[in-house]
Amino acid sequence: MNTIRLANIRRSLGFGALLLVVLLAVNLYLNPARFHPAAWGTLIGLAAPLIGAALASTPVILSGRGGIDISVGPLMGFVNAIIIQTLFLKGGVESPFVIVPVALLVGAGIGAINGFLTTIVRIQPIVATLGTYLVLTGITLTIVPAPIGPAPQWIKAFAGPLSIIPLAVIFLAWWLIRRLPYYDLLMAIGSDDRAAYTAGVDVTRVRFAAYVITGVFAGMAGLMLTALIGSADPNIGQTYTLISIAAVALGGVSLAGGRGGLIGAAIGAIDIFLLQSVLTAFNVSTYVLQVAYGAILVAAVVLTAVQERANRRERNA
């Protein structure tokens, strides 16, 4: 039992985990002060929104049939704007017991809209969520045309080492989901939705729920983003979109669905963050950074495919 499970974990993490070790070593060598264990809390705080965005992107991708949600980034920005501008600055609401539920509910609502468009209206996920992406970006700019602050004290407290808490909450939620019958259904429709359908699985409902879960996680990531920047900024959210999908792919989550998990996605996100650090240490421009992301992403997808082919051969042998 355990050897097979271990082999599965190794297979699913594979390349991303290897890259993580290499990048961590390179970073430690180049920049010992910044990567001193005492500074890891700060580092996690910096990486948290990206990790959150990658985690949020994962459930819909697992659900298969081109499932993808490119509105995760703008949704984070939208949550950020609503919390700071609408609730805190205009409404005077500061209590976490209002702000956190609102953030998660907004996420769930947008997730439900995405789910409705893709599973019931049956628009291709990338087109449907591109629509949501544009609409959310526009609304966010209407709410906060320019960066504005500050944020409530308690949110800013989650910027440093404490940013591990919202991440832990997402992992805990996923750990619970994995223990529900729902998880099996999600992986099954991601693996082969026609087979799942003929096996009697309600594919539409399972996939719809995946979009809602992604929305809720994105709401949480929006809170992490707010904690990090300590203000509202209409232009940051979108930047997380493509990079989080790159992180997911890097983390061994198959973009075809049904394979991978949150741990892989988190590792992929940390990879990207570490890559940023390495390149920044070399003082390269942000344009080169973009080139590096793209190259890494393509390499990751190719390597995953090569690895999968090798695994399949191994299995058939």
């Binding site: 039992m1 097979i4 499970r5 223990r179 529900l180 019958p181 729902y182 998880y183 099996d184 259904l185 992986m187 099954a188 693996s191 082969d192 026609r194 087979a195 799942a196 359908y197 003929t198 096996a199 009697g200 699985v201 309600d202 049904g258 394979r259 299995r315 058939n316």
Partner: protein
């Protein structure tokens, strides 16, 4: 427990211009579907399962005097009809999942204790079917692709039976399955029929239908060409009907 249901096909037309057909599938009988490939027998089975809307007519399900029209696959599943697809690789197994997960996917809710999955319970359910169908799978947690075709098919049958269906629709269930396994499956099918389950078996092999079925429906050009049972059901008569010749 199997509770008796009867399927009525009423004035069913499978293709524009076709002759309407009327059939009743009763509890406890095994009905064979034969025909040259692509002559409507598969379409008929899919219509019974609610996977395909017929050109005209309807399929009614009767349970204890109550009648329900089968309008969709979901409704068929909810009413105790289970369909086992033909193309095992494309629409049957989940190649990335384990034997156990492949078995349980239709019935994941049954493993939940207070909403949380109990893997011990799933394992126990699986072991019951493994014995009954003599599935030869050393490790339930290994990928299903490590099993032989016959054993994969048994796992799919276990999946279908775990739904506790009252009517089983089988689309060429022994395709690519070795002879020994076939006979195990035949015994299982006969046992299910004795318990009162109705079975509809589409088969590309006439021998199989002769060995297994009480009667056979032969299709030609998306119409019911012949219906035979008992002594009238022989290789020659079935082949003659398949090719549209009077026997």
């Amino acid at each position: 427990m199997v509770s008796a249901i009867t399927l009525h096909a009423r004035n069913l037309v499978l293709r524009p211009g076709g002759q309407p057909l009327n059939q009743t599938i009763r509890p406890g009988e095994i009905v064979g579907l034969a025909g040259l490939d692509g002559h409507g027998q598969e379409r008929f089975l899919e219509v019974l399962a609610g996977l395909h809307t017929p050109h005209a007519g309807e399929v009614r399900l009767e349970r204890g005097g109550q009648q329900t029209v089968i309008t969709s696959f979901r409704r068929a599943v909810d009413n105790g009809i289970t369909y086992l697809p033909r193309d095992r690789r494309a629409t049957g197994i989940f190649p990335t999942q384990s034997v156990l997960d492949n078995f349980a996917i239709s019935t994941v809710g049954k493993d939940a204790r207070f909403g949380i999955l109990s893997f011990r319970n799933r394992r126990k359910r699986y072991e019951g079917f493994r014995e009954r169908l003599s599935i030869n799978a050393p490790r339930p947690d290994a990928p299903i692709t490590t099993l032989s075709g016959g054993n994969q098919q048994k796992v799919l049958l276990a999946r279908a039976l775990a739904l506790e269906p009252d009517m089983l629709l089988l689309n060429d269930p022994t395709r690519g399955v070795d002879v020994a396994t076939r006979h195990v499956l035949y015994d299982v099918f006969r046992g299910l029929a004795r318990e009162g389950m109705g079975l509809v078996v589409l088969s590309s092999e006439i021998e199989e239908i002769l060995v297994l079925c009480n009667r056979v429906l032969v299709f030609r050009d998306f119409e019911l060409a012949a219906e035979m049972s008992g002594d009238a059901m022989t290789t020659e008569t079935v082949i003659a009907a398949m090719f549209g010749r009077a026997a």
